[in-house]
Amino acid sequence: MKTTLKTALAGLAISTAMSSAAFAEDIKVGVLLPYSGVFAALAQDIDDGFTLGLETFGADSGATFQLVREDTEVKPPVGLAKTKKLVLQDEVDVLMGVVSSGVLGAIRDTVDGAKVPLIVANAGNDEATGKDCSPYITRISFSNQQVNRPMGQWMVDQGVKRVFTIAPDYAAGRQMIDAFTTAFTAAGGEVIGQDWPAFQKTQDYGPFLANARASGADAVFVFFAGGEAISFVKQYDSFGMKAAMPLYGSGFLTSSLYVNAQGPAAEGVITALHYVPTLDNPENAALVAAFKAKTGRIPSEYAVQGYDSARALIEAVKSGATDRQTLAAALPKVSFTGPRGELKIDPATNNVIQPIHVYETVAGADGLTQKVLATLPAEADPANGCTMPAAIN
């Protein structure tokens, strides 16, 4: 599965149709992903999506892309050391990747100080495009609040008025739930109870499920990801709570990457996310077919984040950018219609602006699949203390 990866310095050159042309640009891309550690599966999907994107769109850019991959191990100090290596020693033109918000927080000042453009392909902490924003950091993935805010109004519209929320007790969990809670109460809903199980230390959600049941809420809204999402969804179902209190949540809960490990327990769970593999548009059909042919898997939201990062980079190159400075100036100006729908970058924060898709997990022909219930319009996050310096060139 991962034989193509990993050698730190063995870059992968993707040649393009015009590579023989005398003035073809060579863009050196530093890829910062946690190839080992708990997020290895995410890193794999982002990497596969990114290389597929370069192969798909690179041909008419007139440039070649050389990748230098580094493993962040999901450890902030390691991520920082690898960033310094890529920036100072390998002298990459652009950085791409970063899965965890902790690593993004650690490398932010170095990236900003060295004036190297960074395409964030996952990490969703609100601060990165809020008070810690930088003209050199462009986020193509999502922000924690962006994914959850639209569900507030939508659930009230569906007649859900009283909810109980559960999320792991760490920064991302708090941001996801707080964004939902604010929007939900503004729309006239009421949050009647909240639980915050210890992050990565809770194996049994029974106590919290009993709290939720006793609260008498109409529904439960949660955020969990990865292994915790699997445990939670299964345990929610085992207590027979789905019938009495429908389960809603942030779309990572039933991500296509993990949903088959949840099995029938995930059926009927309604969540919202910026990408669902069953979106019905030609760009997504092309991605799904190509990704399946390349990897044998269905693209997850992580794969599409990598794919769109490649697309954004290529759009920037096509607009004439060739080096750190011009790429940094061009990246926030890209916009295109991809598998997720129409994407553009918010000039106020450099965060992506994208539609959010509400979907229900349902049984399909082979395993679980996603039924899109609604596509909520794209809206920009509030600037949250971000004061973007004037245009950099």
């Binding site: 990866l5 050698t7 902030p76 650690a106 000042d109 760490y170 992050f199």
Partner: protein, 328 residues
């Protein structure tokens, strides 16, 4: 008893010279690695002081390092202190907390001591992880570096910072060696061998253990300050028990109770880790196998192995000298 044998002094000298030369010639990534080695080296000096000489195998040294890093960052960022007083405060706090842990755990021995320190370390980790004051799991950024511009030294430069890091390792080593040669150091080693005898001699056992643990904690706090100044960003991951476990691995790889060996271990561990991780993402497994092999070999780590071999050679040579005397 801790002695500076010729071999130890030679190894120290070689490591000092090697790292100084490397700091002059290394590329940017090499300088990062050098700083990483220095932080780990200080931490394992702290750990070897208590584990190697006092038999107090601690799984909370990562957390003590974290106390130093967090105290330094909070004092500098929130309380507006300059870097030097913030460092002093952070080291003092690490020492105080280590003293308390040492005092409380003084009665526990062996596996119970390991578990008790694990509990205290994880308590600190969980607290910081959830505390919004300390930035939770996202950590804190913006720790300043020591300002030595009055001396014409600019620590924002990676190369200068590497020299500074090496100097702090030397400082940590000096403190540990002096402690071991003091009365306290002798008591510590004595306690490890025969606690009853020292108790009978009138030593207040808990106080000796706690004091040694406090000095070790202060050194770990220094490692934390250096880590915070190096990355200028800290996160709770620093305090996790696996960091303490890794430090213990390094002490064992290098040679427990030799003080010099663990520094060698830190160099080997970091270099090995980077070399293997550039070949395979499954580098943990390889490090694990090496660790198992070293412990199973019964040698006291790499340095202990070298010491034992040289000791064996001098021993076989001595009789021949005597024979020569007899012949004369």
């Amino acid at each position: 008893m801790f002695r500076h044998t010729p071999l130890r002094l030679t190894t120290l000298g070689l490591m000092a010279a090697g790292s100084l030369i490397y700091a002059i010639i290394a590329g940017f990534f090499g300088l990062e690695i050098l700083a990483e080695i220095a932080i780990l080296a200080i931490l394992v000096i702290a750990l070897d002081l208590v584990a190697g000489f006092g038999g107090m195998v601690s799984l909370c040294h990562g957390a003590l390092m974290g106390v130093g890093a967090y105290a330094f960052t909070v004092a500098a960022n929130e309380a507006g202190m300059t870097a030097l007083p913030a460092m002093v405060l952070a080291i003092a706090l690490s020492a105080a907390i280590a003293f308390a842990i040492g005092a409380v755990c003084a009665r526990s021995i062996g596996i119970y001591f390991i578990m008790a320190t694990l509990a205290f370390g994880q308590m600190g980790y969980s607290f910081v992880f959830q505390s919004s004051l300390f930035g939770g799991d996202d950590g804190l950024s913006g720790a300043p570096r020591l300002d030595l511009s009055a001396l014409g030294i600019d620590l924002t430069d990676s190369r200068t910072f590497a020299f500074y890091a090496i100097a702090l390792v030397a400082l940590a080593y000096l403190v540990a060696a002096l402690t071991l040669r003091s009365g306290l150091g002798r008591s510590l080693v004595g306690l490890h061998h025969n606690e009853k005898r020292l108790r009978a001699l009138g030593l207040t056992v808990w106080r000796a253990k706690a004091t040694a643990f406090a000095i070790s904690g202060a050194i770990a706090g220094l490692a934390g300050c250096l880590a915070a100044q190096h990355t200028q960003y800290i996160s709770p991951g620093l305090m996790s028990w696996t960091v303490s476990g890794e430090a213990l691995v390094v002490v064992i790889l290098g040679g427990l109770g030799t003080l010099v060996g663990p520094i060698l271990g830190a160099i080997l561990f970091v270099v090995l880790k980077h070399e293997i991780s550039s070949i395979t993402p499954y580098w943990h497994a390889i490090v694990g196998l090496i660790l198992i092999a070293v412990v199973m070999s019964r040698a006291n780590g790499v340095f202990g192995f070298i010491e034992a071999r040289i000791a064996a050679r001098t021993r076989t040579r001595k009789p021949t000298l005597k024979e020569a005397d007899a012949d004369a």
